[in-house]
Amino acid sequence: MTDVRVVENATCTFCGCVCDDIILTVEGDRITQAKNACTLGKAWFTEHTIEDRPVALVDGREAALQEAVEAAARILVESRFPVIYGLSDTTCEAQREAVAIADYIGANIDTTTSVCHGPSGIAFQGVGESTATLGEIKNRADLVIYWGGNPAEAHPRHFTRYSVTPKGMFVPRGRKDRTVVLVDVRRTPSARAADIFIQVKPGKDFEVLWALRALVKGRPVPSFIEEETGVPLATLQDLVERMKNCRYGVLFFGMGLTMTRGRHFNSGALLALVTDLNEYTHFVAKPVRGHGNVTGADNVLSWQTGFPFAVNFSRGFPRFNPGEFTTVDLLARGEADAALIIASDPASNFPRPAIEHLRRIPVIALDPKPTYTTDIAKVAFTTATYGINVAGTVYRMDDVPIYLRPAFPSPYPSDEEVLRAIKVRVCELLDIPLPNGKHH
């Protein structure tokens, strides 16, 4: 007989929604039910298994944890341009250890932000942002616009938990009190949830956003805007009236905006439009973040270094330069001579020149599952899964931190434990004193 336990208020770390109302039924080392979770969340929890894999592999051979830590520390200490990358699917506690290692060895550190909302981070630095926690949207927003994202498939509970259907303090009738608009280059399943769908020609988001800014400010917009962008002027005018006259508006935006032509110009235009709208009413914006703790990675890097991603410590202090210190770029240029990859699989999803360079250098990988990256790694650690097997802090896409309640323990160490062990060994090798033998 396996005992059956129920874990209430568990948190799903599959996507940036970080829903913390999941009720898990746990039988031994399997989760048999994940009540309240969406289809993605259910799969995340119920398909989770502890596989019988070695805790570590060094050069493809089974190794003890300590031996692998030693090998990893030596690679890092002996390299001249190590790069640390990933971090969006692990806890803040692990992320802090990773930044500490980067600081001590003078590494480059970067997160998956650089390949998703990095441009929004750059736009934020240029324009600022009017934003809100998701509960404000739930309780106040009467105009909800999604731009360049497909939450119905990527963040299935975004509509029902935070932004479209919930009844809120100032929108007591829920869906009936809100107008929902979707702007995208194609009609995705999310369009069904919208009152208004606006289809933009691919690559023309910036033009549409800039035209909206002009209309908000009462400037003329030529009628060829339709030919240019696929959106009739009257549609834009209607949208502007709705935006100016709502009581609390929100513009959610996704990678359809940040990873297409224009990138940070697109995000910047959107954030500037939202700022402009505050002359008329209350308006906020929010990037819809993908990975469970990518927002935590931005926060940890920012508080420890001052910069959200693409940080380089080679001069003994943090410097920020996207393009130079973003991982894809520096790998593609063949610059790094070692890599520490945490909870990410760049060997499967980076551009070919970057992957080719990754194959040429010693790679250390931490992941709960075998991946293309662990396959090519010189040192590969099997780690416990955050949220399911280990506790820690995760930041929701709106910067709200949530503490995880794991369902059951894993035989594998957490990312935090492995990284701390590497850090301690690195400091020993470099003769760096650690305060109280722990901490930073």
Binding site: T11, F170, S302, G306, R319, P433
Partner: protein, 548 residues
């Protein structure tokens, strides 16, 4: 393991114990000041040096969600002010909003050993604690903003006073806060609720709740005193920065007259004139009120010329500063709890308003009759960085320097003030020790801080005595934290993890049954997941409540 230390030959300034520049030994054992240590204990010879307790900052913004947004916002600030790693310390970046490590180290480099973040939305407590864990050396705590809290509004509207008190205590416990803060009470909710509106007087209604700023202020000041929080309600008044606001400031003070209360960055609340019109200084009126009311304390919120970052829980103020400056702007609403505005800002000597603000701050300092109750702050980084404290100290201690500076700034502004009307006071070292350590420690209810008596925490700063007070206070020779020498000859020789200071007022647990339904209906975080678990506390100390 016991560690001892004896500081000899130093000129000691310890106002709480009435010590004014006498040469005496200070003995340390296991992180505390003790009567005596064995004669073979290690020594620091402080001949020609000034020994003071470590500095205590009663009002700054150094950690948490809005601080991190402000960091992220300004790569341009960090780029020109790097903070390299040393053998003992982590690297970071500076500017007006330094990274966490740089914040801790730079406070220590100024001889400050305790700092209080003055505005954290309860929802951001966990984030703040995580940053505090990465803010080395100093002890720290934070105040939670409750002046725009919708559940409290509901209880207030329904006259459920007892429950209001328990709910406040629950929130302090759930977040591990030090005390409570009110920021533009009523105004931030109206900003979110009514298309960026604001309240302008104490009897304006917060529509949906039918409560007024006056009711909110009165209730929360009373609650903080009844709970015996170590530091009373910490108030950022309505109408910050608006000409004519001294009236609402005085009215707020009178509303809670006779009760313990602290007014934050009072300089920003002491202006004459009419909204939209020319700003004048009413600092003398405000100073007079404070002088005459021993139950009231305040920090100045001095403006210092140069780069600042305005970051505030007063979201409508953030928008006003955005419109004035045209600079990039961050607004961040926090469900049911408040808001936030961030705008990079530069104070210019030639600018009438900026010069007037600078001068009004100096007026407050110079007209204050009780240094124990009007203490130093720049509302870091709103009025300027904490790194400008040494310059501010020189402005207060050195009349000649001050007059030189007064001549450099907008003279129309100076003519609106009493600065040139024989205001020739110079602060003594003893008084500086009061407004930078003894006073704030006392106002915070920190019995082991701000002094060098037996039993006090061995947080000590040793300065080389110098005519140039800016130089003297910029570069302490030694900084000792919890008895451990952290800085020696101006260089770090160790790292140290400071403590979280928080309070834990008593309350009736039944209140959770009032709070839970509100959470279930309106919050997006589960009630069970909201309180901060113990493991975020690390090194911490519960500061006892005051006996009522």
């Amino acid at each position: 393991m016991s560690s001892t230390l004896r500081i000899v030959n130093g000129k000691v300034y310890d106002p709480i114990n009435g010590v004014d520049g006498e040469i005496r030994d200070i003995c340390i054992k296991d992180g505390k000041i003790v009567e005596d240590v064995p004669s073979d204990a290690p020594r620091i010879d402080a001949k020609g040096m000034v020994v003071m307790p470590g500095g205590v900052d009663i009002h700054c913004h150094i950690a948490g969600p809005k601080v991190n947004l402000a960091r992220k916002l300004q790569p341009e600030d960090h780029r020109f002010d790097v903070h390299p790693r040393t053998r003992f310390t982590r690297s970071g970046s500076g500017g007006t909003v330094p990274s966490t490590f740089a914040t801790g180290y730079r406070y220590a480099l100024l001889g400050y050993t305790t700092a209080m973040d003055a505005a954290v939305p309860p929802m951001g407590a966990r984030h703040t604690l995580e940053e505090f864990h990465d803010t080395p050396i100093i002890d720290k705590g934070f105040y939670i903003i409750l002046g725009n809290n919708l559940l409290l509004y509901q209880l207030l509207k329904e006259g459920r006073y007892r429950e209001l008190r328990d709910a406040v205590a629950w929130w302090v416990n759930a977040t591990k806060a030090f005390t409570i803060k009110l920021v533009n009470p009523g105004g931030v909710e109206v900003w979110k609720e009514r298309r960026n509106a604001n309240v302008t007087n104490l009897d304006d209604k917060v529509d949906a709740f039918d409560v007024t700023p006056r009711q909110i202020i009165e209730a929360l000041v009373n609650v903080a005193n009844e709970l015996g929080l170590p530091h009373p309600a910490h108030i950022h008044c309505n109408n910050l920065g608006i000409p004519g606001n001294y009236k609402i400031t005085l009215e707020t003070m009178r509303t809670v007259e006779g009760r313990r209360v602290h007014f934050a960055h009072i300089q920003f609340h002491c202006y004459g004139g009419e909204p939209g019109g020319k700003m004048t200084s009413k600092a003398p009126e405000i100073a007079e009120y404070i002088n005459k009311h021993p139950e009231v304390s305040a920090d100045v919120g001095q403006v210092m010329f140069g780069k600042a970052t305005t970051m505030t829980g007063d979201a409508p103020l953030g928008w006003m500063l955005r419109r004035i400056s045209g600079n990039k702007w961050v607004n961040a609403d926090v469900e049911h709890e408040g808001g936030c505005g961030i705008v990079p800002f530069v104070y210019k000597e030639r600018n009438y308003v900026h010069a007037l603000q600078w001068a009004a701050g100096l007026e407050l300092f110079l007209l204050s009759e009780d240094p124990w109750r009007l203490v130093l702050s720049t509302d870091h980084p709103n009025g300027g960085s904490f790194l400008s404290y040494p310059r501010l100290i020189r402005l207060l201690m050195d009349r000649e320097f001050r007059n030189e500076q007064i001549r450099k700034v907008n003279q129309r502004a100076i003519r609106q003030t009493v600065l040139l009307d024989n205001l020739d006071r110079e602060y003594t070292l003893y008084e500086i020790a009061i407004i930078t350590r003894a006073g704030p420690a006392k106002l915070l209810g920190l019995k082991n801080k701000g002094h060098l008596g037996v039993g006090a925490d061995a947080d000590i700063t040793i300065y080389t005595e110098d005519e140039d007070k800016e130089k003297m206070f910029s570069t302490p020779r030694y900084v000792i934290k919890d008895g451990k020498v952290i800085i020696k000859e101006g260089e770090f020789c160790a790292d140290h993890e400071g403590r979280l200071l928080h309070s834990a007022p008593e309350y009736d647990r039944e209140i959770e049954e009032v709070i839970r339904p509100f959470f279930e209906q309106y919050y997006t975080v589960q009630f069970a997941n909201y309180p901060v678990p113990e493991n975020y506390l690390h090194n911490h100390e519960v500061v006892p409540t005051r006996q009522s």
